[in-house]
């Protein structure tokens, strides 16, 4: 009985489950409500319950698993060489897709760091979709690999010489 009461009380006076919520707000530009909602999504995907997502957690989403570029998109969340992503990294990647704030484009302050959802950062994310080995260049092979992923067995190789790499 005592444990039930203490559990109820601790839920009543629940402290913020997310640490550094203010820092995340500043970095990503998401509102408090959106961060809470994304945190709830993060915990529902985190089947292991250890506060990080692995690649398997992403592949468990059926709509992502049938997406031809599902693996590449998942890789975009994981920093170089790592197998786990924490909530901060999760939200930071998603912040790229926030709509561009209109006033940011107009009052360009050169000394301030660019927000995550700026045009340049969006293009960088798109570039990384093709740059599979993260060497800063898209080679012809990488392009072909991505094309093969999207088209699958419906690709017919023609005898025409393909254009050079980018």
């Amino acid at each position: 009985m005592g444990s039930i009461v203490s559990r109820l009380l601790s839920r009543l006076l629940r402290e913020e489950e997310i640490e550094d919520i203010e820092e995340i707000k500043k970095e990503t530009g998401f509102s408090h409500r959106k961060i809470t909602r994304l945190y709830r999504r993060f915990t529902s995907l985190d089947k292991g319950g250890n506060g990080t997502l692995s690649r398997d957690d992403f592949h468990r989403i059926p709509e992502l698993a049938i997406n031809p570029l599902g693996d590449i998109i998942t890789n975009g969340f994981f920093p170089e060489g790592e197998d786990q992503v924490n909530f901060r990294g999760f939200v930071r990647t998603l912040a790229h897709f926030r709509p561009i704030d209109q006033d940011n484009e107009k009052n360009k302050n050169p000394s301030a760091t660019e927000p995550l959802n700026s045009r340049t950062n969006k293009l960088l994310f798109a570039f990384r979709l093709y740059d599979l080995d993260r060497d800063g260049k898209i080679s012809r092979d990488e392009l072909l690999q991505v094309l093969r992923m999207i088209v699958g067995v419906n690709l017919i190789c023609s005898t025409k010489t393909p254009k050079g790499g980018i």
């Binding site: 909602r37 059926p62 049938i66």
Partner: protein
């Protein structure tokens, strides 16, 4: 010490008297004293007041974040063709040519599914628009007002200390009556008296169990009730679905035989009435299962079979793929739609999070279970239709009637991975779009040449 004991015995006797005469006996005859309906009306008014109070509280305290209603993504609801056309419009591409921007369509769709997808949310309890004064559904509790907290406290007391012991007593009485009654009826020879008695025993027991959950069930279109020799299919949310449906008719249950208490109940049930229980090894053999069910249906005098074609519990916001096995047996299908009211109690069994016992405890400490059951007109397979198409047709009818979302996804995705065939579908669709645009642009060029 003696006085305390006699007092305790007297209280206990009074308690049993009240339970038996005011709840169990009327329940067995299908009557009601009306207490539950009054209780539910009071509850609904209370919850409406609580909702208004919470909304007012949120306006007064703007720092308190309110939960977002539905999704934080702005989706463009177009088909792959429309969106691809928009992406490629600015470029003049030759036929069958791939553009770098094509990948962005898949990227966008992939990210949308990471933030919010249609499938995984069906395997956890539905999010409520407003708090219903249960601790377990409290997403963002902030102290709003003293009165709200007091009501919540009273609610906790009423649910755990008054309703819960009552419900447990009723459940024990109901289940023991089922086991004893069916065993006794099983001793009779096979004649119409036995069948009638077996129906009576089953009905009374399920009615007592329904009271044990404070269930208020509303049946619609009773003229379409499943007949003997038919197959009844329904959407599956919880094991309690069986109790809900069996309150209004007798069904032959289909399932796997379990051990323990469940096994005892199953074995005694089959003594009085031909239910179809399978051993675990038999379940793997689909052919054996189908032939046994077919034999049951062919004997037109047997009770209608009750099957849940989704194969697993879904959270009652949508209907997922109906497996074709049930629709290959033949016979008339009687679809039934079941919809629970989520405000007064969450009926969904999240089997990966809770086991059966904790699920039942949670259900018995909710406010109540309010459920609507719609009987749909019988359907049979039509010429030129295969089992899959028939299954989809029935699924759409059930979803439409119950006000649920009709999804084509398989419920077994709760535990398993999606098949690669679906990814290949997406790839084929994209190739078709590019090739089609190829033929459109080729026609344009040809026309320009000719003119």
């Amino acid at each position: 010490m003696e006085d305390l004991w006699t007092v305790a015995v007297a209280v206990f006797q009074l308690w049993i008297f009240v339970v038996v005469f005011f709840i169990t006996l009327p329940a067995m005859f299908g009557l009601s004293l009306g207490v539950t309906s009054v209780y539910i009306q009071i509850l609904v008014k209370l919850l409406e007041w609580a909702t208004i109070r919470i909304q007012r509280g949120r306006e007064e305290q703007p720092s308190v974040p309110a939960p977002l209603p539905n999704g934080i993504i702005e989706r463009a609801e177009g088909s792959m063709e429309e969106e691809m056309e928009q992406l490629r419009r600015s470029r003049s591409l030759e036929g069958g040519e791939f553009a770098l921007s094509d990948a962005l369509y898949f990227c966008k769709k992939g990210l949308e599914s990471i933030v919010d997808d249609q499938v995984t949310q069906r395997f956890s309890s539905e999010e409520l628009a407003s708090w219903n004064l249960l601790t377990r559904t409290n997403q963002n509790f902030r102290y709003i007002s003293l009165r709200l907290t007091i009501f919540w406290g009273i609610g906790v007391f009423v649910r755990y200390c008054v309703l819960f012991p009552l419900r447990i007593t009723l459940a024990i009485i109901g289940l023991s009556w089922l086991v004893i009654g069916t065993t006794l009826v099983g001793f009779l020879p096979e004649n119409s008296v036995k069948y009638w008695l077996s129906e009576v025993v089953h009905l009374t027991c399920y009615r007592i169990c329904a009271r044990a959950l404070s269930a208020t069930i509303r049946y619609h279109n009773k003229e379409n009730r499943p007949q003997k020799g038919g197959i009844c299919v329904a959407n599956h949310t919880t094991p309690i679905d069986v109790v809900i449906l069996a309150n209004d008719g007798c069904y032959a249950m289909v399932g796997q035989i379990h051990g323990g208490l469940m096994g005892v109940i199953q074995r005694s049930m089959v003594r009085s009435c031909p239910h179809v229980w399978f051993e675990r090894s038999e379940m793997k053999d689909r052919h054996a299962v189908t032939s046994r069910l077919r034999a049951h249906v062919a004997a037109k005098t047997k009770l209608p079979i009750l099957i849940f074609p989704e194969g697993t519990c879904i959270n009652n916001t949508s209907v997922m793929m109906f497996k074709k096995g049930s629709f290959e047996i033949g016979g008339t299908i009687h679809p039934v739609a079941i919809k629970y009211d989520p405000r007064l109690g969450d009926a969904f069994w999240n089997s990966s999070k809770y086991n059966m016992v904790s699920y039942l405890l949670r259900t018995m400490t909710s406010w109540a279970i309010v459920v609507n059951v719609w009987y749909l007109p019988p359907m049979t397979i039509q010429d030129g239709e295969d089992a899959v198409q028939f299954a989809n047709r029935v699924k759409s009818a059930v979803a439409c009637r119950g006000g649920l979302l009709d999804l084509a996804w398989d419920g077994s995705l709760k535990r398993g991975k999606v098949k690669d065939a679906y990814k290949e579908e997406q790839q084929k669709m994209y190739s078709r779009v590019i090739v089609r645009q190829n033929s459109i642009s080729a026609t344009h060029t040809r026309r320009d040449d000719q003119s």
